[in-house]
Amino acid sequence: MTGLAITQLHVRFANGAHVLRGIDLTVAKGERLALVGESGCGKTTLIRALLGLLEPGARVLGQMLLDGQEVPGPDPRALRGTRIGYVPQNPLSALNPLLPVGRQIAEAWEAHGRRIADATLSAELAAVGIADATRMMTYRPARWSGGMLQRALILAATAHRPALVMADEPTSAVDRPLARQMLELLAERSGTLIAVTHDLDLIDGLVDRVVVLYGGRIVEDAPAARFLVGPRHPYARALLEALPRPGRLPRGLDGDPPSPLAPDAGCAFAPRCPSPCALAAELPMLAEGVACHLGTGR
């Protein structure tokens, strides 16, 4: 089968933190997916597990297949950048401050034994919207704007036309009008895309599916069009209500996200859930795209 298939993925760190607690996720070839969740929910760990670059001592259980082949596989370095592209979180800190940007973007090619001529690189940069690319590529990151750096990083991540692009909050460090442009550029340049994002108001029309991660588990997995008007999991509803909208104040969510050190004890969202639930002590399973006792109609 083509695309990404993750089955029962568990990741446990050396300190005992159980960060991912059984992720089942299939992404078809060409599908664009938004992965939503607050910090600490396991989004970045999922990306690093796929690319085979977890912290030393982390244990991985489960199966990850990309186009039918196991990832990260025995040689994860060969897969990084070529079959799975990665767009880092904050473009301002994602490049070495001492080196010219052009040299660092060229590393995306050189890391896999390919040379790229300056003229080619300049043309590639111009193609992602960098004006005056020949001159800009000789400057250090400090002379670039956040938006321009993000464009350059999107170019680097998609240099080898990877089967899958993973973007770690590609919109968090740029202004909102730019953020939509970044997502459009990403969607245009990648085949299959998993974009970790909080900007639910920006993904409309750009992604096919929204997957919500909470406490290391998927709690909702829904088509984007349906999700944006009627999310079913109470946490997903809270996320949408936390967005600023004209005419009403954004509503926050009380309480803290669950600790990855805590053992599994029923519904992880129960302590923060606005609708008290008699079944909170039971672990809710993902059924009909939502992991909530109420959502499944029990």
Binding site: L51, L79, Y86, P88, N90, N96, L99, H112
Partner: protein, 267 residues
Amino acid sequence: MIASHSSARITGAALLTLVLTLILIGPLVWSVSPTDQNLMAVVQPPSVSHPIGTDQYGRDLLARLIDGGRVSLISAVLIVGGSLVIGTLVGLAATLDGIVARLITQAIDMALALPSLILALVIVGALGIGMGNLIFAFVAVGWPWYARLVRGIARERLSAPDILAARLAGVGRLAVMTGHVVPHLAARLAAAAALDLGYTLGALAGFSYLGLGAQAPAAEWGLMLRDAQMFFTAAPWLLIGPCACIGAVVAAALLLAEDLAQTGGRG
């Protein structure tokens, strides 16, 4: 902070230029032999034929100062350079994962726990007296300081977001080390090395003074001080040359190190 950036840099550079001019240009202008004895003119005060006087064998002090400076400075540069290269390689190796890196880290800590000057003394004692052995001994006790510094800077760098981004793009460990870690060592290592150069020069003079470095009739700043000691109440000018030169290099090193530490080699 000793002085403002620019004044520290200018003073340091001026002092260093002065000493280097003496050592490099000196032999061209002052062609008197540093080892020719003249027992008719021992311990002479400064005069036209001997601008800073003569020593107890009637040897020209200016010629000995110039000749000795070359030995002292070359030795100090070799010691600092050797310690820096070995320390950097060991320090980088100590940042890798796994048991070998842990053993290397422990070896660095153990080496640092030994008193370095006494250890250098033991090494010279075991290998025999001489400038070559002294340089070896100083490198043998000097590298752990650099290794610890490099390990600290490199570990900090390796957890930076841009390193993670590079690794996730497929850049290998070696390329990350050479391309993204080593360039960040330069400014801080240069500052540490400048400081160490001054310290090493002083320590070398001390060892030569004790008779464990350069051997007579060779000239060396520490050795000149040792010779001068016997006569310094009667002939204090014997001390001026070597003291001023050692002092100038140490001061220049301190000032330049300060400047490098403040500006990181830029600005």
